[in-house]
């Protein structure tokens, strides 16, 4: 199972003012807020942690088919490790985050070994949506492969897992 989330840093600057009173309290735990405010680049750290929460929420949403707005309950750990963790309701998600001057992109998986199976797809691949959740259609096998699409501002990334999964 896979989920991803991208943040266009330029758009985020104008779209959201995380410094507004009460903003951080609504979506970040005390520990996350401490990490944000003590980091060298708080702007970047806000969207870094946010993208980890969103990417992990997408997996939650797929598995439970439940839509909910509770970013604070997807708590990030191991901020500085190459593989981060996000915990929600006793479940751990593993995250890898790519940061450059233009965007922040996080891929979240449930099985840590799945990081080796990540495949980037083209947007024009044969994608269908069921209940608002995207799948990649594979006509030869008549199966639907789980994919995750994220777009924000100038950027879009579509990812899936290479090997057949039990979640097909």
């Amino acid at each position: 199972m896979i989920g991803n989330d991208i943040v266009d840093l330029e758009l985020a600057k104008t779209q959201s003012n995380w410094k507004r009173k009460g903003y951080l309290d609504k979506i970040f735990t005390k520990n996350e807020q401490l990490h944000i405010l003590n980091s060298e680049n708080p702007d970047e750290t806000v969207w870094n942690l946010w993208s980890r929460k969103e990417a992990s929420y997408k997996i939650y949403n797929r598995i439970t088919e439940n839509r909910i707005y509770n970013p604070i309950q997807f708590e990030c750990f191991d901020f500085e490790h190459s593989i981060g963790k996000v915990k929600n309701n006793g479940v751990f998600y593993f995250t890898k985050t790519e940061i450059n001057s233009l965007y922040i992109h996080t891929i979240s998986v449930l099985n840590i070994n799945d990081f080796e199976k990540i495949s980037y797809q083209n947007r024009n691949s044969d994608i269908i949506k069921m209940n608002g959740i995207p799948y990649l259609k594979n006509p030869s096998k008549k199966i639907f492969k789980v994919i995750s699409i994220s777009n924000h501002g100038r950027f879009e990334k579509t990812v899936s897992l290479l090997q057949p999964q039990s979640t097909f």
Partner: protein, 84 residues
Amino acid sequence: MNKEETISKLKAIIKPFVNNDLAFENLSETTDFITDLNINSANLVDIILDVEEAFDINIDNQSMEKMLTIKATLEIIEAKLAEK
């Protein structure tokens, strides 16, 4: 405050964050902030904070979880106003 007033106050709050003007024009109780109005999920926080300010209420995490549609938001505003 009657329901009409609540809705018009809420509409004014969400308008700046809407990315689908047609869906906003055809707004109904079932309208979804994210799937219909294409509101960025990071901006839902702004809507929640603006609702708190405009109605002078406090939206706890449990209520916030459900605030994905106009209907759920109206119900939460009504419940919180009734608690006052």
